[in-house]
Symmetry: C2
Amino acid sequence: MKTIDVCLSPELIHLYDLSNRTVVVVDILRATSCMVTAMAHGAESITPFADLRQCESMKTRGFITSGERDGKKVEGFDKGNSPFEYMGEEIRGMKIAFTTTNGTQAIEKSKDAREIIIGSFLNLSSVVKYLLLSEYSALIVCAGWKGRVNLEDSLFAGAVVEKLKDYLGPDCDAPLAARHLYNLAKNDLAGFLSESSHVKRLNRLNIHQDFEFCLTVDEYKVLPRIKNGKIVL
Amino acid sequence: MKTIDVCLSPELIHLYDLSNRTVVVVDILRATSCMVTAMAHGAESITPFADLRQCESMKTRGFITSGERDGKKVEGFDKGNSPFEYMGEEIRGMKIAFTTTNGTQAIEKSKDAREIIIGSFLNLSSVVKYLLLSEYSALIVCAGWKGRVNLEDSLFAGAVVEKLKDYLGPDCDAPLAARHLYNLAKNDLAGFLSESSHVKRLNRLNIHQDFEFCLTVDEYKVLPRIKNGKIVL
């Protein structure tokens, strides 16, 4: 029987056998929310980079560069890490090189997975449907914050576990913990997260609008996945 | 101001600066519950070992040896990992060499801490009082299961965070998550844990009695701590 597991931090990924799993990488605030938004608005591809300079160098090869560190846009990059930067008509056909503090690192660490898809609340139902139909067991990899567990990615993981509870059994306690947290929070995700460390960090950066948008469930129907190192539809 | 943080797995311990923290090591099922029980019954000291053979060799030096791997007593050791083995009158004055799958490994990984104390539900209030009076910030290190996050240790961490919430602010999201889980579970810890992977594992080993005992709050008033590599009072 297919199962579901949750890796609460990329620093725990060595504990999991990825070779027979569909991995869902999630960084709700805000990398994977941005990626889903960009793909929903017609971007051709997004190439994730763990390394900042390697990402920046893609500018000379026809890429739009997106760079975020510690919540802020990196100087010299075309775009930062707000989903509202990935919505305009100009996104259509763009090739984007993307690097962020946590999200693109989590993708890099998941590279041995059987397959990798990109999850966020914005495409929650698409993720759930895909995992239901996939022939592989699921592993949700939470990007966290610099290796530490965070609430928003755990809540997303819990939402997926909850929605698949009649079909995919939990492998260990992390999916159970995430599901409990999601059920506690689901009627007011924003309120529940208002005390979280990352939300406070974002609020200091005046990006409250991003925060609200990233918690919108099923804004888009896309399912970005990684093929040959690139995120495509 | 003093703060409180929770390291949900020993595999995340490198993310924390231990040098100015009082670390509480917790392995509810069952290493730290056994240690608290033994110290409450008059054991002279418990020396934790990460390595099985090193622990076993202490037999020739006047130690009682306690060894557990994968929930079972290791052959050739005097005792296993059930708190009921550490209650009799014969415990008084004993020097115990102790190795377990998770708990003693967590102690080993915490060795750079300013100070280390041993926590369990059995001595919850003693732990809370000590952290309240300590001059250092607190870090609860959950032993987990082979590096993975587990529910029972997370619940204990949440209990401590909850009881200190008016005094020690959370450093990041892990203490918030643990506190939410504890508040959800506190009226029926056993019921809440009945679906957890470790509890199922223990039930397969027919040690349900251990499970119930390890969830008893404040059975003992002792506060074991590590001094010169040994657990003493």
